[in-house]
């Protein structure tokens, strides 16, 4: 469970996100912001916990977006699952587009791009990407 402010989402960011989703005349009390701050933190912990539990049952070591989508659907958060599933597709499309652009350049540029994207060794990053792609395909089949 979360303890103290260090384990909570920044309240300034939470307040800004709330205002972006509300009409201009809406005002938000401080305690309302604090309440949503705690709820959002619990929301992420709760969903992430469900997703990691599913990975543990399937003997996998890495939690990805598909696991979280599946967890949200099992928790009754269907709107979130649908929206985030589409977000994940768009995100991966962007990443693939960037990768294809970089692949046409020199090997050094490709290595630099891979390093900045993954933050780790080239081999590990490539393998992780391939495994994600395969798991994505596997997830896509039942949905179709």
């Amino acid at each position: 469970m979360t303890n103290g402010q260090d384990n909570l989402l920044p309240i300034a960011n939470v307040g800004r996100i709330m205002k972006d989703g509300l009409p201009p005349q809406a005002k938000i009390s401080k305690r309302a912001k604090e309440t949503i701050q705690e709820c959002a933190t619990e929301f992420i912990s709760f969903v992430t916990g469900e997703a990691s539990e599913r990975c543990r049952r399937e003997r996998r070591k890495t939690v990805n977006g598909d696991d979280v989508c599946h967890a949200m659907r099992s928790l009754g958060l269907d709107h979130y699952a649908d929206a985030m599933h589409r977000y994940l597709q768009r995100y991966r499309e962007g990443e693939e587009l960037a990768a294809s652009l970089n692949s046409s350049s020199s090997a050094a540029a490709a290595a630099a791009a891979a390093g900045s994207r993954g933050g780790g060794a080239i081999q590990i990053d490539v393998r992780a990407e391939l495994s994600i792609f395969r798991s994505g395909n596997n997830q896509g089949r039942p949905n179709n």
């Binding site: 996100i17 005002k27 604090e34 939690v63 977006g65 649908d82 991966r92």
Partner: protein
């Protein structure tokens, strides 16, 4: 491929309008996701998201797309909850969202049941501040009883006055010495009523009455009978300054003898204050009270006094010569015929309002009493000598005050202070 949205749970939603708002919300979010160009812009810092998510996933690793994914997910959650809370605030005709609106939004959504515990803990945390305030108040209430002391039970000294009156007094005007003491206070108060305030403090006066009752033992009935028979004598006696001077001598002795502690001396002052507003009626009333007190068991005196000092109701004497209990909160300070009451917290404030002349006179008496108390040791003879000295000194100054009244209050006050400085 787009998936069909699930059928909304209309049973738990408050109004169809809210359902339309949520449908519109999710359609707008879908459009926003379709039109997103830059995926590197995040509403929540990555490090914080990783820290929160890591606390739940144990030893699992996160893929590279998880921080951005969680950031977007959190953004959707916060905005959806804000929209629901805004609908709740509007249903109450408010433009500001309160935490109760958040709670109402969460309660109306089944998929948010896991947040109910969070709300409960959140409220408990915010209720801790009022609890500490209540604790402070309770501490103050506990301190009040300990400040009230049991009455000082000192035997009243009964010895003849040492001052010779200027005008001889016939024996018929002088009651027996054993029944003489209670009548000094109304007589004294009549003469000096112009110097006293009209708002005495009853609690301390009751303390004095109880002291007198104990000192006189079983003579309560005699006091009552004697009072009824000799009221005209008091009236005749008060008209003569010389008689008043001789009658005041035992009063001053009572002051010195009954009050070796400053608090008791205050009760004597307030005793006179009561009689000043209605001397004749108050006299009978006071004696009745003393009579009742003397009949009560001695073990019950202390609890009664403690209750008086801290009870929510107040005691005062009215023109009917009866003691009436007034509930707390009733404002009787404006009543002309009623002796006003001052609770413990307001005693000092009340005493400040008394006139300068009165303060100077009784300040002198207090100084004399304190000097006697300081000089008092284990030897009784020293105590009696000191009491006698204080008595003579105060009596002389008091008579001088009466004779030189026309000279002015300030001059007399200066003289009194010079003698005690």
């Amino acid at each position: 491929m787009e998936q069909t949205l699930d059928v909304p749970r209309s049973l738990r939603l408050p109004t169809p309008k809210a359902q339309q708002q949520m449908d519109e919300f999710w359609r707008d979010r879908q459009k926003e996701i379709e039109t997103t160009k830059d995926f590197s812009e995040h509403a929540i810092p990555m490090a914080r998201l990783k820290k929160i998510a890591s606390s739940q996933k144990g030893n699992m690793m996160m893929s590279f797309d998880m921080p951005a994914f969680l950031s977007k997910m959190c953004e959707l959650f916060v905005q959806e909850l804000a929209v629901r809370a805004w609908a709740s605030a509007q249903s109450h005709n408010r433009c500001i969202i309160l935490d109760t609106d958040i709670a109402e939004a969460i309660a109306s959504t089944e998929s948010y049941d896991f947040l109910v515990d969070i709300l409960h803990n959140h409220r408990e945390k915010h209720k801790s501040t009022p609890c500490s305030t209540l604790t402070t108040k309770r501490c103050r209430l506990v301190d009040q009883p300990s400040t009230s002391r049991p009455p000082y039970q000192h035997q009243l000294p009964l010895f003849a006055p040492t001052y010779t009156p200027a005008i001889p007094i016939t024996p018929s005007l002088m009651p027996p010495i054993s029944h003489y003491i209670p009548f000094q206070y109304p007589s004294l108060s009549q003469e000096v009523s112009t110097m006293m305030a009209s708002a005495p403090i009853v609690n301390r006066s009751m303390l004095l009455i109880h002291n007198i009752a104990r000192g006189l033992g079983l003579q309560g009935n005699n006091i009552s009978t004697f009072a009824n028979n000799n009221i005209p004598d008091n009236i005749i006696g008060c008209s003569s300054p010389a008689v008043l001077a001789s009658m005041m001598s035992p009063a001053l002795l009572d002051v010195a003898g009954a009050s070796l502690n400053p608090p008791n001396s205050h009760s004597i002052c307030t005793m006179n204050m009561i009689n000043s507003s209605d001397p004749s009626g108050s006299s009978i009333g006071d004696i009745n009270v003393a009579n009742q007190a003397s009949l009560a068991p001695s073990e019950h005196f202390n609890p009664a006094i403690l209750q008086e000092s801290s009870c929510p109701s107040f005691l005062y004497n009215n023109n009917n010569d009866t003691i009436v209990v007034v509930p707390e909160g009733v404002d009787i300070s404006g009543t002309m015929d009623v002796a006003g009451l001052v609770i413990n917290g307001q005693e000092e404030e009340h005493e400040r309002k008394t006139n300068v002349e009165q303060n100077e006179i009784y300040e002198s008496i207090d100084i004399g009493i304190i000097n006697a108390s300081v000089a008092d040791g284990n030897k009784c003879s020293i105590r009696w000598d000191e009491l006698g000295t204080a008595d003579d000194s105060l009596l002389d100054k008091f008579l001088e005050e009466f004779q030189a009244r026309n000279d002015g209050v300030l001059h007399s006050g200066i003289v009194l202070h010079e003698d005690h400085s």
